[in-house]
Amino acid sequence: MSEYIRSYDKTHNSRLQILIASAIVIMTFSILISKLWRLQLIEGEYFSEMSYSNRTRLLRLAPPRGSITDCNGKILAQNQPNFSLSVFPGELREPEKLIEIAPSILGISPERMRIMLLNASNSPKYKMFQLKRNLSIEEVSLLKSNLGDTKGVVIEAKPYRQYPYRESLCHVLGTLGEISSEELMKSERFVYKPGDLVGKTGIEKDYESYLKGEEGWNQIEIDAKGRQIGTTNKILPQKGADIMLTLDIDLQKYVEQVFVERAGSVVALDPETGRVLALVSKPDFDLNLFSPSISERNWKNLNSDPLHPLENRAIRGLYAPGSTFKMVTAMAGLSYGVIRPETTFDCAGELEVSNQTYRCWKQRGHGKVSLHKALVESCDVYFYELGLSLGADRIAKYASLFGFGTASGIELSNELPGLVPNSAWKQRRYGSPIKDGDSVTMSIGQGYLLSTPIQMAAMMAAVANNGKVMKPYLIHKIVSADGRALFENQPVQKWDTSFDYKHIQLLQKALKDVVEDKSGTGRKSFIPGLRVHAKTGTSQVITEKDRITEMDQVPYHERTHAMFVAYVNDRPKKIALSVIVEHGGGGGAVAAPIARKILCKYYDIPESPQ
């Protein structure tokens, strides 16, 4: 306790320091106040004169945004100047002149003009108020010659984003929008200012830092009439980098055209490199709707559309892979030695497992089925039996090997990973162990399994590539405004499945016969002279209904999804693709003809009716 008594030492000799400090404070504040006095009271008049008459302004010169092109350099997104007429309400001295001249040029009534100017005069005095945008060149030249000298009237050229191919590739390219205050606060100082357009979705968002460019500054002098006297200093803005994609817009557009169904997705990859050849999600929307900003009505329409046109189904649509998944089950069965190529099961049209009847799509049954026949004719019972012997965890392991359950790694940021259920997941999610029934439904790609179209295309690419899994990529290269390549993509092998080559060959032969065999389910994608490997799938949306119901009697949202995956790997130009038609019905009937058209276009084969 005594230490506190000692430390309480009122005699600490700070009187001198306090006096000196007080003197310093008084002195400093006197200097500050006298300077303030001089600035505000002696020179005040001069400064307020300067403030009104001869002032310099620092204008920020927005950088032109980089373009996005396809692999042949065709422009998919670019900047175009957009002229607009604005006024500074605080500087507008002759509103009558504006009301007299402008309406006839702009094709609006003088009353309307008067109302707009009234609104302008009620808005902040020194903030630009926009009267009309999207002016034509004729309008601009007429306005310039008639109103160019009028104080307070500004004709502004602002870049806006233009998408020549409109809805083509809309989900990949993405949209621009005005920067939100949250993004503004998060960005480094001075990089953005309110009103700037920034990428909101797709590549425009994910590659914002490359596309943006660097802003410039222009210091201008303005006279009493608000006219620019001269530029005192200028730093030019730097254009953003251009991004070149891997895909060919002509093929992309063709795929979009042949996909006439309401909703679904197509993904085409180069199996050897992982290059994306086409990435389609339907329904789509015109990107130009968003430029320079989307109207409230259009935004509402897009958002309230039950088919969600803004969603990129290719990387975010979650579907049970259906029978296309049977090749995964097959490879698991062969690799674990549960079956041998010649193993047969008897298909009687249905199988009973734990008091539940699981049906084959062919009610009469397939009879004695080998693996080859099971794949070619897509026999369900064969895979029920195989799934039962394998168990869900072993199927899950092979599903992961084919890339299911994790994002494919394409450069778009919001990709979904899908879901591969295993016993640990089931325990965590439902608190119950995985059952035989789960293994059975999983073996034919139903149940809890969820995959995206790009994952299905990647699975096909892995088979075409003899088991090597490549990472899909969309960006070919990024080139700066001065022509330097900032980034150039190289194919990346994610992993090698190290399947037994004999097993892969067996699978590939079966997939070929899906198309070429008379009883194959993928007959509709047969192209004379081209060796197509494929697998059909029909993914159930709700629990099985009575099969007798005709397709068009089932409500749209209860119809099955049609799936078709295919590849060609014996040509110099290779391709692997997945086609998903939401609520389209059967994969072989609806999705296969689309794939056929795409393949014909890709290989320049004249399309002849079968």
Binding site: I5, A21, S22, L36, L41, F47, L58, Q219, N233
Partner: protein, 378 residues
């Protein structure tokens, strides 16, 4: 006994709540919020994000102030080195993040706010120095050998802030450190040495930097240390800021009516250039009121430093007061063109959570020392 102790600790202490310092802080912050509203209204942001955030930090500041008043300030003496260490770690984190993102960064992103440790580093340096020098305070003059550790305490954060790079904060930390050392009662020898060192540094900078460096090199260094303020390198901001202040005249152009404020943009007018808004919209009278409030704060602080019950309390109070003093001097001097442009906020008025919370920490420390100056423990 226990009762009296508790009684002493809380009831008596809160009976002597340091109202003057606290109410000046609150008034200044409210003026600041009005000015931030005016400054950001012209940015064209149709929402009130900046004002809302500042109000949120103000509320947080009040909560923090109350919490810091409940404990005896000797707890800061006890943990001063740990506080200092924590701030140093935070500064290193900021520096390494800045290295990774290859740009200048002064903050750590905490999601809700950007924690800017350099603002708190100033308070931490004051606490650590007061602990080091407090023991000897009043009993014997400070000798050169006593200054080795304090020198290390000052120079470490100065270096870490300088590499961010943030010249303004580095200068302020250094000045604060020197202020505390001078207040601690140095011997005449030490004063002479410090004086000589100061003069030689000034001479060295004046002559040698002029001779050794070419103009463009100096400019390059200046833009490196301070890239934000002068994008054109022509004193643009100072001219604009002088015009804004000057056109305020005696009574100002009125709230939200400042032509310079509403028209052109000083990019940092809601933070470091907030004083120009005050001057333009509220004129000489408005500035006098605000400077008067700051003066009242400083003199009240000095009186508390004089009457504090122990060396640590006295030194810490003086250190805290010197933070406010240097900020006001450098910031107001800078916007009027008396001093070069460096990034120093104006306490309580400038927009920014870290700066406001650090300001309220200072108020809390000073008030705490004042409230407990009659608490003796026996």
């Amino acid at each position: 006994m226990a009762y009296f102790e508790i009684h002493n600790k809380f009831v008596v202490s809160f009976g002597r709540l340091e109202w003057s310092i606290i109410s000046v802080s609150v008034i200044l912050t409210m003026i600041g919020i009005a000015l931030i509203y005016s400054a950001t209204a012209s940015l064209g942001v149709h929402d009130k994000t900046f004002v809302v955030k500042q109000i949120a930090w103000f509320s947080l500041g009040i909560v923090m102030l109350t919490a810091l008043l409940i404990v005896d300030y000797r707890i800061f003496e006890k943990y001063s080195f740990w506080i200092y260490l924590g701030i140093i770690v935070a500064l290193i984190v900021v520096w390494s993040i800045g290295r990774v993102t290859a740009g200048s960064r002064r903050w750590i992103d905490l999601g809700l706010m950007r924690f800017q440790p350099s603002e708190f580093a100033k308070v931490a340096v004051v606490l650590a120095l007061s602990r080091l020098l407090g023991e000897k305070f009043g009993s014997a003059p400070i000798e050169l050998s006593d200054l080795i550790k304090p020198f290390g305490i000052i120079i470490l954060p100065v270096a870490l802030v300088l590499v961010q790079p943030d010249l303004g904060t580095a200068i302020v930390i250094f000045l604060i450190g020197v202020s505390v050392v001078l207040f601690a009662g140095p011997s005449k020898r030490v004063v002479a040495w410090l004086f000589a060192a100061g003069i030689s540094v000034m001479v060295w900078t004046y002559f040698f930097s002029g001779k050794l460096l070419l103009d463009y090199q100096k400019k390059r260094i200046a833009t490196f240390l301070n890239p934000d303020y002068d994008p054109l390198g022509s004193g643009y901001h100072i001219i604009q800021s002088q015009i804004a202040i000057g056109s305020g005249g005696l009574t100002g152009q009125g709230f939200l009516q400042g032509a310079q404020n509403q028209l052109m943009f000083l990019p940092v007018k809601h933070t470091d250039f907030i004083f120009t808004i005050l001057a333009e919209e509220f004129g000489f009278i408005g500035c006098l009121i605000v400077l008067g409030l700051f003066a009242a704060y400083l003199f009240r602080g000095l009186s508390i430093a004089h009457k504090a019950r122990d060396g640590f309390g006295s030194l810490a109070t003086f250190g805290c007061i010197s933070i406010i003093f240097w900020h006001v001097t450098i910031n107001v001097g800078m916007v009027m063109g008396l001093l070069p442009v460096v990034g120093v906020p104006l306490n309580f008025l400038s927009y920014g959570g870290s700066s406001l919370l650090a300001s309220f920490t200072i108020t809390a420390l000073v008030a705490n020392v004042s409230m407990r100056r009659f608490n003796y423990y026996s």
